[in-house]
Symmetry: C2
Subunit: 114 residues, 2 copies
Amino acid sequence: MEKKKNEIIKHGANECPITATISVIGGKWKPPIVWLLLKGPMRYGALSKTMPEMSLKVLSKQLKELEADGIITRKVYPETPPRVEYSLTEKGAALRPALTLLSEWSETYILANN
Amino acid sequence: MEKKKNEIIKHGANECPITATISVIGGKWKPPIVWLLLKGPMRYGALSKTMPEMSLKVLSKQLKELEADGIITRKVYPETPPRVEYSLTEKGAALRPALTLLSEWSETYILANN
DNA sequence: CTGTATCCAGGGGGATACTG
DNA sequence: CAGTATCCCCCTGGATACAG
């Protein structure tokens, strides 16, 4: 059940750097996840509760991929009941400026236009 | 053959503004397309030639979606043979700062890390 | 509480041939 | 030159049940 982790680019022709980034944060639920984690670490259950429309399987998968891509870290506290906390790595936190601009763009050109 | 144009957000729960933007520029070939058009208008054939791995159907589709979302404009010159030029709208050009940061992030954290 | 396993549907994207 | 039409495959994501 090997996964290919971060496939990255491979456009052959043009090597678009944006595609590389999108392939990392472009999953359906990855933007919200990263967006939430920018405000601070969160537990698995809290993430799920905040985004109830996302199934658990998908949440797990996206978290794994984000972890594999070095965007987030997973910290397990050996307690009962178990506690798992997700937080951004330095690499992940470095996305903040870009994501902020992306957010502002949507506020200006999408939300405002409707 | 009605398409739903820009579906936009609809996460119900969290309304992530980044998801809104990703849904607009997040197609597999949309980033390269927009990235190219940031340098100036391009013809259909030129786009196809620059990205040979993208099938014509997909190019047409992505262009239509980008146009429907107001990112690009399509200008037809009534000549023989036909000439069609695609260029960014103001809205599309406004993505430049965000895309630049996205690009820089990938240069720093992906390309450099390999 | 934090996941994994299984099954399944929908859509995006690819190859190719054809059209104005 | 600039597309459209058709067929098909794969992958993402969803629902549900089960496990550590």
